[in-house]
Symmetry: C2
């Protein structure tokens, strides 16, 4: 009697994606327990096996489930939060502040559950993740029944799940220990990227991965800037730099590798590292296009990933495979460059190999786990079918099939979807919870965005500096007079400075928001050359605290911050309604006059050409002190030869607008 | 009492895509007859209109239907026929031979019907087509109820529906006359491309379009090669060249415009020409990436198209819009470059304007036709929804929505799909007919591909030349002996030639196929320089007809053809199992010997280094004549000082293999 197996799949067009790329039509496959027992021509299999569960796959392709080789699945909950922004604005302005506020074990579980449901519905049976609270990803994925490489993030700065990298390393090791022999989950450690980790973190992570013989998941060479900075800081581009940190002591899965040269590809190949290509994300964030065909030629195992759904904005591997194939052609100018067959191989067996799971999944071969999908290849949008070219079936799947054509999904011998019905996920309740998270995140961001100040604080750069200032300004017809009077005996000059200042003022529709000044300060040395440059961001409140006689003003507190990002970053992040640009030459003195310290500025406004002004300023700590200093300031003005009747109470930017 | 309208759509998130990009949430829209009567906030509309048909659109986006601004929809029947090939191999090797054989009015009607069903199911309400038998496209689309600009192709060479371009022009004019006032179909003429049309065709087409005031549809500047050839042949790049042919006397819809400079963009804008951007097709055929943002900035109306389903391989506009947005970012390095909002605008109102149909469709505005769709934006793969950013809804549609999320489609006030059920198309019967076409096309190509000769004939280049040849070859230790003997009195030299010959032999697994030789013949002038080059393709049969004594052979017929394509083309088209390359120096004489004409070749095989050979050949027409000439050939060999015992019966390529 023929032996009985758990499930027999019959009448299928079987794409094994094995080394020989065997196709069986009609083909059949026998599942026993969690594994594939046999696969081959229909007649052979039916002659040798029988089963109580026989699935007729007429009109369908039976193939290995797709492998999503790089993602951050809990970010499903942040899908569509912020789009069409530059990487830094997107990451530092939106993702990270929201993650700091909202990412918790509950957030991660919910996001993972929803993402797993989406992955199953689009034919993915195996994914490589990297996030915070990764054990929650592992738990949720295991419960739903998906196979995952789940990597705990380690960063050099505090993260939602660790106050320090030591804590993150410890958490990672504990987590790996607990999960190392799980049938579905491969635990892993993820030093986030070379530029967000110290050398110590890279070495420690590799050591942990090597000790437990689990893969290490990371981001490498995603942007040109990353490579340039690596060259600047370490004298090495990214791959040799991490090689020096002994990263490849572990079995590495590297996402992106957009900017790697031939030597680096060979390094990756020599160490058996896998690469995950993320075409949508790399285009959307404008990182570039990874040289995938060159990497494949160099012997690197290259898989395909969606990256996180916040930068994609979904987990649809059918879209990624198609884009990988199209993009390689369009960029190289060679339409034969990455054929459909190779693209689909990257999304199955090569992806599993890149994840270092090639021995258990990624192709339909006896002994491998039963991770498989059925795809309807006869819907309206994928008819007719031509049979002349044996590779035509791959083209049909890559260029015309949709994720919604996947009808059935099995992982580890267990059905997760039949006839498009999910069997292990109850999404309605999860969707309601996700909507609730979205409402709270919306409220958080809307409140933040109501105030320029809170937006400033959100990106972590601002510190309030209490700086009540007494100030008086007057238009000067002849600057020489001031320069001469500065040499008079009652003034003691503490120091002199010379600047060129380039100020950009952001204005907002709501005048109560005040304005934000981005200043580029060039210090001019004694030789007339630029000695150094400083960038500062200043929030200028809208109101004056008090108006003294003779145009002396008391200004309210300002918020200063070193401007660590570019003007372009702040422009996109704050999205001002208008801008004013002012360029000036400033001579500045710190002086003592009648026992009080003053700053004297002699400003020549070059752009627009507004003329020359004398400013006298002094810091103050109380209203009484302010009144006292306002009086002396006026005297100093007269002593310098200016006409106190000619005082100007407007800021420079007000003059431009007026 | 409030007036009654035909249909009221309520409770929707309405994206009008009008000039102000108004969004109404909750919004409502009133349809009366074929047009939109009113659109606005729910309360306003409900206060003013009532209807027997009220459609609750909760949880859905109501927006203008997508506009597919360039396609060849009957090619649905050729989807997946041949992929991952270069443009010339794909077009000349597969598409055109199959079209010559199969394209008929029936083919066009069936392909159009299936394509319209696919378009409706993916949310397209309006398309711009270009094909043969275009009146059949018009009929089928009108019957199903889609809006279309249907353009009849005109080519300078014979096509499936016209033996000459005069016939095609006449057909076009007749067709336009009959359809010019149709409520759904805008008839149009399509001079295929500048390089497939004469100047006269371009001028005549523009004149016909102008006379009937219908748009003109064409392909412009698709590949770099097209631009280079235009510069070479006309001294002008593509846009100025067609401008000179007065093409812009008509309202032009130009597909592709991948390779246009700023001046050309301004020309397009000045003439009010529309452009259809086809990102998938341009990547898949490796044509490049069109500078769409620059064109938009220059004031060109740029829409988005799928191109034909044989080069895409489907009609999914959701994929095209997403790809347009991603690609513009990735190529420019600027992730803010083509925001989702602009991409969706290109796929709606701008697309309609590019098609010169902006006054009647492309946005939801009172007075425009009711061409609209409902899209579910709360499926699993598009949750959650954030509301902070008012443009977030566009990002949701562009980056995460799928064509399968479209639930309902109305064109010209008529429902074509409700709850994903097609109302005007019966696809099952069509799919069966399409499968039948596919079987016949498969059989045609399989038969053709069984024989190298029929593949050669299919690309139109081969003509059989009856050339039975008597030939004898012998290895020559000292070429000087032959050269001296050629001066002997019994030989009359008719002419002398000197060549360098570079031969590539394609071999096939099946030896009965013979082999194909691609020869590059350099004629060497008296000065030793290359005077000119000739490329020839020769099919060499596998068998010898007869073997005479002394190694004299009678070879069987050969097929010669001028090699109009590149070696690369033939390599990809014929896909040989192996290749042999031989480079030789050939001195050739045409002589008279004993009253008979012979060719004498003195061949020095340089690569690989095989030595020098003397060949004596003569054409022959009958076996008796062959026997007679074989005898004289042997005598000539001896007369030239060669040893007839040293004859070689192998071809040069056999020596290489051996």
């Amino acid at each position: 009697m023929t032996p009985k197996v758990d499930t027999l799949l019959t009448n299928a067009i079987i794409l094994t994606m094995d080394e020989e790329m065997q196709i069986f039509e009609p083909g059949a496959l026998a599942v026993s327990g969690d594994s594939i027992l046999a696969v081959g021509p229909q007649d052979d299999i039916l002659a040798n096996y029988q089963s109580d569960e026989v699935v007729d796959c007429s009109g369908k392709v039976l193939m290995p489930g797709l492998v999503n080789a790089h993602t951050h699945i809990p970010m499903t909950l942040l899908r569509g939060l912020a789009d069409d922004l530059r990487l830094d604005v997107w990451l530092l302005g939106y993702m990270m502040p929201v993650e700091r506020e909202f990412v918790s074990p509950e957030f991660v579980r919910l996001g993972t559950s929803l993402a797993c449901a989406e992955l199953i519905r689009s034919g993915v049976t195996c994914f490589a993740d990297m996030y915070y609270f990764e054990e929650e990803v592992a738990k949720a994925a295991a419960e739903i029944g998906l196979r995952g490489l789940c990597a705990q993030t380690v960063l050099k700065f505090p993260s939602p799940d660790a106050n320090s990298f030591e804590e993150a390393l410890e958490y990672s090791e504990d987590y790996i220990k607990r999960w190392v022999n799980h049938p579905l989950i491969v635990p892993s450690i993820a030093p986030h990227a070379p530029y967000t980790c110290t050398e110590g973190i890279l070495r420690a992570s590799a050591a942990i991965a090597a000790e437990f013989d689990v893969p290490l998941h990371t981001h490498l060479a995603e942007t040109r800037l990353e490579v340039e900075n690596s060259l600047k800081e370490h004298g090495l581009s990214v791959i040799p730099y991490v090689e020096r940190q002994r990263l490849f002591d572990a079995r590495v899965l590297a996402a992106h590798c957009v900017h790697v040269d031939l030597g680096e590809m060979q390094t990756l190949a020599r160490h058996g590292a896998g690469v995950a290509h993320n075409p949508s994300s790399n285009l959307k964030l404008a990182s570039g296009v990874a040289p995938v065909v060159d990497m494949l030629k160099a012997g690197v195992k290259v898989g395909i990933g969606t990256d996180g759904p916040a930068s994609n904005n979904d987990l649809d591997m059918f879209e990624e495979v198609r884009l990988a194939a199209l993009l390689a052609k369009g960029i190289s100018g060679d339409p034969t460059r990455l054929p459909a067959k190779t693209a689909l191989l990257m999304a199955t067996r090569l992806g599993a190999e890149a994840m270092h799971l090639g021995d258990i999944t990624g192709s339909l071969e006896p002994g491998k786990r039963a991770d498989l999908i059925l795809v309807d290849i006869h819907p309206l949008h994928n008819a007719p079918r031509f049979r002349r070219d044996p590779d035509g079936i791959y083209a049909q799947l890559v260029y015309a099939a949709k994720s919604t054509d996947v009808s059935d999904v099995m992982v580890n011998g267990r059905w997760l979807m039949r006839a498009r019905q999910l069997l292990t996920a109850d999404v309605d309740e999860w969707l309601a919870q996700a909507a609730d998270f979205a409402r709270r995140i919306d409220a958080f961001l809307i409140e933040r965005e109501q105030s320029v100040l809170s937006k400033l604080i959100a990106i972590g750069g601002a510190a309030e500096q209490e700086s009540f200032e007494v100030q008086v300004k007057v238009r000067i017809p002849d600057p020489q007079v001031v320069l001469q009077n500065l040499e008079k005996p009652d003034i003691e000059i503490l120091y002199t400075r010379h600047y060129h200042e380039y100020d950009t003022y952001f204005r907002f529709d709501d005048p109560s928001q005040g304005q934000l000044r981005y200043r580029e300060d060039e210090f001019i040395g004694e030789d007339g050359q630029v000695a150094r440059v400083r960038y500062r961001l200043t929030m200028i409140g809208p109101a004056r605290e008090k108006h003294f006689p003779s145009g002396v003003l008391l200004s309210r507190s300002r918020y200063y911050a070193p401007a660590v990002h570019s003007l372009r970053f702040y422009r996109e992040y704050f999205n001002p309604s208008s801008e004013i640009f002012i360029e000036k030459d400033r001579l500045r003195w710190r002086v003592l006059f009648q026992g009080t310290e003053f700053y004297i500025n002699l400003d020549r406004i070059d752009q627009p050409d507004l003329g020359t002004f004398l400013e006298v300023k002094s810091r103050t700590w109380s209203l009484r002190d302010a009144e006292y200093k306002a009086d002396i300031a006026e005297k100093l003005l007269i002593y310098l030869g200016a006409d106190p009747a000619a005082t100007v109470t407007q800021d420079y930017f007000d003059m431009v607008e007026g």
